[in-house]
């Protein structure tokens, strides 16, 4: 039988089966009026070969490690090496977090991931009036290189990689890390890790911003250029959809806006005169894994295929590694509930499984108490164990891309790819992502999606267990980690001590040089590294940026 004949037969059989199905539901009606994903995508009752008729195995699905990389960027995937279990941690002082890092490394974690407190994330020192009450609350407080030295004390930074979730002041924190390594005799050519450094998604979603979009893009191009030349094992940017999703986007919006951001960064680096294949292999991505199991898996697969196509066709990359979409995943913080918090372990496990079936390179699993506060050690350990159980007990890593070829998953993958490309086309028409952000386009799209989703939960169109269904009055108590109230005062005292013992003449010179470089078109990473070595504080450097580049103000889109 030829393929056409076989499809013809399936077509007839499907028609027949749909009749049987209709008869069946006329007796027992369907549970729901409409079956849809978390992102409100309508789902059919059944998928068959007819639904993937338009797909070509070689062009669209193919083999792991081969273009278009739908099935994974490495040929061996988890049969070779498991994903990196990278748990995000940071609390209180550098000393406290250093202790947590040692604990995680001893528990078998293979990469570090640093969470900073709000003042650090916004480029303010602890003693700034805007920082009142925030020190150490949602991550570690860093004011100077001294804090970074304490943060990584005793940790094998020549062997493990470090991810730093930081955006507007990313160049400063990265410079501190480089300076710290060099003081320990480890050269910048050896250290590996990632800085998030993705400002576009800050304007779109997370709203941790400092300077306006255009100068922010210049700083990012500086870091990409510097990394390519000086710190070749470092990912100078982690292009993030995570926060876009947390802000309430749909899965397709997460996919589209993240890749559109990526396109903007590639364009900025090329404009800087860099060859696409010199930097593109070091671009990394960061996605959210939400609750809709198959939709998420399809999203990861679509992302890989789309990026490969964008790099090859749009930017004419030659090196296959430039076409690799390597990504970190975090399970969806916004899917956790304060009600019946132990259920969060199960949610996280499902989300983590989707990330693994989607072929993630590294993974953070949320702790059950994250919707209440910074996780306790116990909760963080359960979250890590969740990954270890998936990796070593479930057997899902035994074969590569086990869902490849599934009629449903392939259809979803293709649909999401097409819809995301449609968004990218719209953004191109607006003049690219920076222009689209200036028009508040992605912000509005996300705000609308978030509101719609919340309304659906409120109207019980979507179920959230323990919130709008299976609600119980009794709540199991959860132990909560509290941050020491005295921390703020102590940190301010400590930074003052650093300021009093540093060479303030050199500090002044370093800041002047930085200011001059900012006025010109010099790559700012060099003077920043020089400055942090003199124990210039984070805010002192960021104030130079704010002076020269201006301050971005929230356009308030709702």
């Amino acid at each position: 039988m030829s393929q056409d004949e076989s499809l013809e037969r399936i077509r007839e059989d499907t028609k027949e089966w749909q009749q049987v199905f209709q008869e069946s539901i006329s007796k027992t009606p369907e549970r729901l009026k409409r079956f849809s994903t978390v992102s409100d995508r309508a789902i059919q009752n059944l998928y068959t070969p007819l639904d993937i008729e338009d797909l070509d195995f070689s062009n669209d699905i193919g083999f792991p490690g081969q273009y278009p990389f739908t099935r994974g960027v490495q040929p061996s995937m988890y049969r070779g090496r498991l994903w990196t279990m990278r748990m995000f941690a940071g609390l209180g002082s550098a000393k406290d977090t250093n202790k947590r890092f040692h604990l995680l490394v001893n528990e078998g974690q293979t990469g570090l991931s640093t969470a900073f407190d709000m003042p650090t994330l916004m480029g303010y020192d602890t003693d700034c009036p805007k920082s009142r009450g925030e020190c150490g609350r949602c991550g570690v407080a860093i004011d100077t290189l001294k804090d970074i030295e304490m943060l990584f004390e005793g940790l094998p930074i020549d062997r493990i990689t470090t991810s730093m979730t930081i955006n507007p002041p990313a160049p400063v924190l990265w410079a501190m890390y480089i300076a710290m390594a060099e003081k320990r005799g480890i050269s910048r050519g050896i250290i590996g890790g990632t800085i998030q450094n993705d400002m576009l998604k800050e304007f779109i979603a997370q709203k941790t911003f400092m300077c306006p979009p255009r100068p922010s893009m210049r700083l990012i191009a500086d870091t990409i250029e510097f990394g390519t030349k000086e710190v070749p094992r470092w990912n100078p940017i982690s292009i993030s959809g995570y926060h876009i999703r947390e802000a309430g986007s749909t899965a397709v919006q997460e996919l589209a806006f993240t890749l559109a951001d990526g396109i903007a960064y590639v364009e900025a680096a090329i404009e800087r005169g860099l060859d696409v294949d010199s930097f593109a292999p070091r671009l990394s991505f960061f996605f959210n894994s939400h609750l809709d199991f198959f939709e998420e898996i399809a999203k990861f697969r679509a992302a890989r295929r789309m990026w490969a196509r964008i790099m090859k066709e749009r930017f004419e990359a030659k090196d296959p590694r430039s076409m690799w979409l390597r990504f970190h995943t975090q399970t969806a913080g916004c899917s956790l509930t304060a009600q019946q918090p132990y259920n969060n372990v199960v949610r996280t496990a499902l989300e983590a499984l989707a990330a693994v079936l989607g072929g993630t390179q590294s993974l953070h699993t949320n702790s059950l108490d994250e919707v209440l506060a910074i996780p306790t050690e116990e909760a963080a350990t359960i979250a890590l164990r969740t990954q270890q159980i998936i990796a070593e007990e479930s057997g899902v890593g035994n074969t590569i891309d086990p869902l490849g070829g599934s009629f449903y998953v392939e259809r979803l993958t293709k649909d999401m790819e097409e819809e995301a490309f449609e968004y990218i086309r719209k953004i191109d028409e607006m003049g690219g992502m920076v222009a689209a952000i200036e028009k508040n386009y992605p912000q509005m799209e996300i705000a609308d999606a978030a509101y719609k989703y919340q309304k659906q939960i409120d109207g019980s169109e979507k179920t959230v267990v323990g919130v709008n269904k299976y609600v119980t009055g009794e709540e199991l108590p959860v132990e909560i980690l509290q941050i020491e109230a005295e921390l703020e005062r102590k940190q301010i005292e400590w930074t003052n001590q650093v300021k009093n013992t540093r060479d303030n003449k050199k500090v002044k010179d370093a800041l002047e040089k930085l200011g001059e470089a900012a006025q010109r078109d010099d790559n700012l990473m060099y003077p920043i590294v020089d400055a942090v070595k003199e124990y210039v504080t984070e805010q002192e450097i960021c104030d130079v940026f704010r002076d020269v580049f201006g301050v971005y103000r929230d356009p308030s889109v709702y």
Binding site: M118, R132, G133, C138, Q206, E246, T337, L372, Q454, D458
Partner: protein
């Protein structure tokens, strides 16, 4: 003529945390419930929040916080309202809070605390029951 007074609410994000999904959803929800909602924008100090509340003559301030600085920021707003003789303005809060902080916040004068998962209609109903437009 007895025209019903409209409830005016300030939705504010004190502190450096930029997670405004909740604040924006609440702003829309209040609007759809017929309230007049003044939105403060991000990264406000408690002083700025209180100044806005007074200039806008709101009946209630809804504070949103997700990054753990609520124990300073929220009570400070209440304290400043008292200083300015504007403590008739009801203050409530939404976001991520450890269970044990909630009674402390209430003691400090935050009238109600909403945690993730609270249905929107409950949030609206609470305002309708507890916030009366000034007469």
């Amino acid at each position: 003529m007895d025209q019903k007074r409209k409830i005016r609410v300030l939705v504010a994000k004190p502190g450096l945390d930029g997670h405004d999904r909740g604040a924006r959803i609440i702003a829309r929800t209040y609007r759809d419930a017929g309230f007049e909602v003044v939105y403060s924008g991000l990264h406000q100090t408690p002083e700025e929040v209180v100044q806005a509340a007074i200039q806008e003559d709101v009946d209630m301030i809804g504070l949103s916080s997700l990054a753990g600085a609520h124990m300073y920021l929220f009570p400070r707003v209440v304290e400043l309202l008292k200083e300015k003789g504007a403590d008739d303005i009801v203050v409530c809060g939404g976001g991520i809070f450890p269970e044990e902080d909630i009674p402390k916040l209430k003691e400090a004068g935050i009238k109600e605390i909403f945690t993730p998962g609270t249905p929107l209609r409950e949030v609206v109903k609470w305002v309708e029951d507890n916030v009366k437009p000034r007469s």
